[in-house]
């Protein structure tokens, strides 16, 4: 290898999938490269030795166009274009230089040879970035659902109950009482803080009752001493195997030297039982804010469980929102019990992520009250009590107060239908920064309890004002474009560079919020009633606002970023940390990083086309 070609080789060596190649193969590969200079506006397919080539962008940038000449992707330095290298060959894609661009070209045949030798490269190259993105989302969901739950759930996720134990010198009678009290079938027996044995229902039967042993004897007479233990970091599957081999049904779980609980065969089998249906049922039965608070502690586990059983981020959002809405409704019922029935009809509305059904275990609350126009001044205190009771209750349950004060607790958001209508029309007609911020909260809205008609009356009037209202939509767009994806020109992530979250990516504000904002604009432009982001993107597909391709790409990007976020939060919850949105790219595999970049690129492209549509640059 000519040392002189090293600079070119070193550049190529950083570009996936070539980064998977050993140096010897890279050296051979460089010898097969061509270099071309493409003038701005020209297609990569023009000229050159070989039209069926893959292109690596060395300098400049390239836009990808679909058959219908729709822009669907952009490539920059270090990106790979396989637009002219489709094995199927039926996709009519075009790649055009958006600025003067220097490319390295490799014949597709050379690439196919590499792919044959390196299956990893094949997986990476199968499609152009946007199509690749869609595959990544599908395969990660498949992988999760194929893997049995027990295979990937550590025991520490399953033993949530407190440790129930008894001293080895306590009587058999006392042990029986304790087991009955806690409704458990086994007890850990402790000797001055150390695990000395295990006692089960069966031991009671066979070693005590059946042979007429006195219940006053100490438990160490009938316990199984030095029981087989399992480490809390073991997988549920390992515990099951151990039980099957030794024909036992109870295993003490230890963390290092310390016993922390018992896992039973029934626990393992019933793993699926801890779902949102179960949780909402207990919410309906809760009689106090305190018991609701207790139940809400299960939400992080719920989130964990959905993810580890192969559920998507959307499933998490729906399940958590189902729980938060059930808590809200129960709080309203409890308030009505406390303060008496409401003087006039009203609607408790959720805004923001709860309205979109996209909450996670640490979402804050956005809500309000729409009250019938019949309300008199003397009715106001009742609503103020209701609002305080519910908002405070939600806060206690982990849905913390809205930092922007967009809550029913704030009198501004506890108003009659007439006032709310005036609010909306005001935001639409005088789109200033504050009203645009409020629009982005209150245009995602849903009735949680009460009279739905109050909201639909307002939305009817509002929808005729927003649909095709170019000026308002342009302002919304300009506002939405303030959230830019953290992708630098040199295809690297732009990380947060100071503070507590140094060197991380803010997945929520830099990844999800831009998509949520765009989906809202498409919905407003097309007069859609849909509130959830995925539903909005699905319903707007093929409308003048959003092409089918654009919709599919955004949906994939949304699912991918959401998934990375919930998985990140699941890791934090498992470690006992509180969940946040700040992910370090170092925690991702190279492939995941590439997919995340693809997702950000899709968002960038769609922001670009939205901005062009509404000339948002002019505001």
């Amino acid at each position: 290898m000519e040392v002189e070609l090293q600079e070119i080789r070193d550049f190529v060596a950083l570009v996936p999938p070539f980064d998977l190649l050993p140096e010897s193969e890279l050296n051979l590969l460089v010898r097969k490269l061509g270099i071309r200079y493409i003038r701005r506006g020209k297609s990569l397919s023009e000229g050159g030795e070989n039209t069926s080539s893959v292109f690596i962008i060395r300098q400049g940038s390239v836009s990808l166009y679909s058959e219908e000449d729709k822009l669907f992707g952009m490539l920059a330095e270090g990106d790979l274009s396989t637009a002219y290298c489709d094995e199927g060959g039926d996709e009519a894609l075009d790649a055009r230089a958006t600025e003067d661009t220097l490319v390295y070209c490799i014949s597709c045949d050379v690439l196919f040879d590499i792919v044959k030798k390196h299956p990893d490269a094949a997986a990476f190259l199968k499609d152009a970035p946007d199509r690749r993105l869609s595959d990544a989302v599908k395969s990660s969901q498949q992988k999760a659902s194929q893997t049995a739950t027990l295979m990937n759930t550590p025991l520490s996720d399953l033993i949530s109950e407190e440790l129930i134990d008894i001293d080895h010198e306590s009587s058999i009678h006392d042990a029986a009482v304790k087991m009955t009290e806690h409704g458990v079938s086994s007890l850990l027996i402790m000797d001055s803080g150390n695990l000395s044995g295990i006692l089960t229902d069966r031991d009671m039967r066979s070693r005590c009752l059946a042979i007429g042993l006195s219940a006053d004897l100490p438990v160490n007479e009938i316990m199984t001493p030095d029981p087989v233990c399992v480490d809390s970091e073991s997988l549920a599957f390992d515990a099951l195997m151990m039980m099957t081999q030794k024909n036992i049904h109870h295993l003490p779980v230890i963390d290092g030297e310390k016993a922390i609980g018992i896992i039973t065969a029934t626990d393992l089998i019933r793993q699926e039982g801890k779902n949102s249906v179960h949780i909402t049922r207990s919410i309906h039965r809760a009689e106090s804010v305190e018991s609701l608070t207790e139940i809400s502690k299960l939400i992080p586990d719920l989130q964990l469980q959905i993810i580890s059983t192969g559920g998507s981020a959307e499933h998490v959002g729906r399940a958590v929102t189902a729980v938060s809405s059930a808590i809200t409704r129960r709080l309203i019922e409890l308030a009505e019990k406390k303060y008496g029935p409401s003087p006039v009809p009203y609607a408790w509305i959720a805004a923001g992520s709860q309205a979109r059904r996209e909450q996670s275990s640490h979402s804050d609350q956005d809500n309000g009250l729409i009250i019938s126009n019949e309300m008199k001044t003397e009715d106001e205190p009742w609503f103020s009590y209701l609002a305080d009771f519910v908002c405070d209750g939600l806060d206690a349950c982990g849905f913390v107060y809205c930092p922007g004060d967009a809550m029913a607790k704030n009198p501004q958001w506890r108003q009659t239908e007439k006032v709310w209508t005036r609010y909306y029309l005001g935001w639409i007609n005088t789109p200033e920064p504050k009203s645009l911020m409020l629009s982005s909260i209150f245009f995602d809205i849903r009735v949680i309890a009460g009279n739905k008609k109050l909201l639909s009356n307002i939305l009817q009037k509002v929808s005729t004002e927003t649909k095709n209202n170019q000026l308002f939509l342009a302002h919304m767009t300009a506002n939405a474009l303030q959230h830019r994806t953290p992708l630098g020109f040199f295809r690297d992530f732009v990380l947060i560079d100071e503070g507590d979250h140094k060197n991380t990516l803010d997945l929520k504000h830099k990844g999800l919020v831009p998509i949520i904002d765009m989906a809202r604009i498409y919905a407003l432009a097309e007069g859609l009633e849909a509130v959830s982001t995925t539903e909005r993107l699905e319903k707007a597909a093929g409308s003048p606002s959003l092409s089918k391709d654009g919709s599919a790409n955004l949906l994939d990007a949304y699912e991918l970023i959401s998934r990375l976020r919930v998985e990140h939060q699941a890791r934090q919850i498992r470690k006992g940390e509180s969940a946040d949105n700040f992910l370090s790219p170092k925690k991702l595999s190279r492939l995941e990083r590439a997919h995340l970049k693809d997702a950000f690129k899709v968002v960038q492209t769609m922001q670009e086309s939205l901005s062009q549509r509404y000339h948002a640059g002019h505001f």
Binding site: E2, E4, L5, Q6, E7, I8, V30, R31, K32, L33, G34, I35, R36, Y37, I38, R39, K42, G47, G48, E49, R58, Q59, G60, E99, D100, L102, C105
Partner: protein, 228 residues
Amino acid sequence: MFDFLLSEDAKRRKLLAIAPEGPVKVFLSSPLIDRNQDVHAVSLLSLDFETSGLDPGKDHIVSAGYVDISRGEILLSTAMHDLVRPNKLLTENSVVIHKITDDDASAGKSLEQVISSLLQALAGKVMVAHNANIELAFLTQACRQLYGISPRFPVIDTMRIAKKWLERRNKEIEQGDLRLFNLRKRYGLPMYQAHNALTDAIATAELLQAQIAHMDSRKILPLKQFLK
């Protein structure tokens, strides 16, 4: 023009008659290049010499780097980099510039081997160089020294193209403007860290592609417009 072509052809035939067997004869036997054809269709070879100085009479070629350009594509499969084994010690100056020490160079080939390979690669192609006078003068000198005669080499000089381009736009040319590095920057071409004959040959080839791409793409660009 036809007369000119004829005279060019006649000169070649005259040279061919006296050329010794070997690379220079092979080179002269290749078909004459049509100066009216579109530059995109011409096979080109981008060449750079590193030399021990600027005087072909006293100084010598230290290394040669070259690469083919075909239909607007630089083909790295053809990239060559040869070091020339020196007859005398390298002067300190060139060591500083090219970082080639006597040890490196002694691992190289003889001047005859290097020029012979180059002539074979160059047959039927137009040479491309930046500030081509240097390459032309040293190549001609080497041919005379080795074979007693030297062919005439059709040459595209990227520096001259740049100079004409700037002059036509009445741009004042400042010192350094015409250097390869600065011209590449003007066209948004990446920076190469290394400074050696092959990297410079590739850099020059890229520059030419950029220069051609920035000319009117609707017209045919005849080769003669580019020749020195």
